[in-house]
Subunit: 293 residues, 2 copies
Amino acid sequence: MDLSDFAFSKLNITIVGLGLIGGSFALALKELNPNKLWAIDKNRDILVMAEEKGVIDKGYFDPKTPLEKSDIVVIALYPKSIIKFVKDNLNYFKSGAVITDTAGLKENIVQEIHTFIREDVDFIGGHPMAGREFSGFPYASKKIFIDSNYILTPIEENQKEHIHLLKSMIRKIGFKNVVYLEPKKHDEIIAFISHLPHVIASTLVNSKMLEEGNSCIGRSFKDMTRVAYINSDLWTELFLENRENLICQIDLFQRDIEKIKKALQKKDRDTLKSILDNSSLKKEEFNNAETYR
Amino acid sequence: MDLSDFAFSKLNITIVGLGLIGGSFALALKELNPNKLWAIDKNRDILVMAEEKGVIDKGYFDPKTPLEKSDIVVIALYPKSIIKFVKDNLNYFKSGAVITDTAGLKENIVQEIHTFIREDVDFIGGHPMAGREFSGFPYASKKIFIDSNYILTPIEENQKEHIHLLKSMIRKIGFKNVVYLEPKKHDEIIAFISHLPHVIASTLVNSKMLEEGNSCIGRSFKDMTRVAYINSDLWTELFLENRENLICQIDLFQRDIEKIKKALQKKDRDTLKSILDNSSLKKEEFNNAETYR
């Protein structure tokens, strides 16, 4: 299906939660010139700021009015608040509306919401693999989406044309690659590609060794600990919600790193070299895949 | 002491080994307009390439001629080859010459060389905290030095003015910060800030999980595994040479990451949040220190 099909100029879009991600969506979606771009937030100052900057057409504290007229609703709240928001406002959604979220976890949200969602609206889980160390609307930027990956977790109940509508929107606001995953598989993979790296970065930065070493560090350490500056409320929630998967990934990681330790203890040059050759090869394959995707 | 004192225009400088680091030194030192900039390498093609590009005044396969006239010698070889080079060419060095190296390990090199070094030449260990994923002269660039840290590991036998001469040279070719460490302390710290991150990056990239996840990864995983593309010969040697320190750092890291795992198993929200708050605080302090240094 040709993704240029969709005329966003005819659609009303509402973003729920003008934080870093919601705000970045607003900035990026504005350029698609939707018929109306609205936002809902508990913080009236942020809504005023977004209106004054011309990022949104209008901000609402009460969800009823914008939801009743919105064809697409993007919910950029913390995982638990997303379920509550859909439940609390279920009667307000426009019939035929496509609702998506941006939470870093999907299984629980998608399952829960589909136990009570109305038949005439379509909720499709999503997760933009984009962000930055800082949180909040003032740090929002459409640049964080450019060339990033986006995971959608559609299920049987979702309608094909709605999935394509979201994919079209996601591609148009700068994302390079839209991947479809089952909600359960998403949470397993995310424990490895996102939660584990954040655990590692925090662990390294909290190490006593850094106090001695931080005047000498190089780029490898800097890059590896970039995400140690973290929104602790959000990530504590993500870690706890995904704890089984994350514990499993920490175990696997510890088992793998143990292999290198054992090789060092045995002065096993061949094993060490093959581990490093293998990682170079994989990284190179991966970089090429990135380049040519 | 004013680091602008030194007139490099009067000095002859020789670089031993035109790989990524040696080549980058050549490119950067050329701009200080030394009296002569020479290079020694086993690969005649690289020497010709460097001459033709005007990066060096002349390249030598035989060390004798350039060493006899060089005031500063920068040895950018693998750790073990550095000791051998100084020993094999000991009689050629110009009296009063300042010799330094760029190896990622210092204790063994500095100790060994000072068992046989001539009294009328001064060997001062050094370690530029700069590099990139690719190796070899074709990838050399003076840009890799800009705003990087440089560790010097002087010992009592070294002369103050020679240490300052090297510091001056290092600052003039773009390094931001020159840190002095004892050779032993250098190797301990480097096990944490450099070798451990490379172990982690390789471990992550070698994980089976990446095959499922690599179409969805975000910046945190990308940044964290940048150095997984690695020169396996060099790094196998570095890891083995520094094995006691590296094993110790892997143990400490495993113990620290275990704390997060335990907190997840106990659903201990407060501990998780305080770990993340602490790492955010430390990363912020560190970023500020970086900015204002």
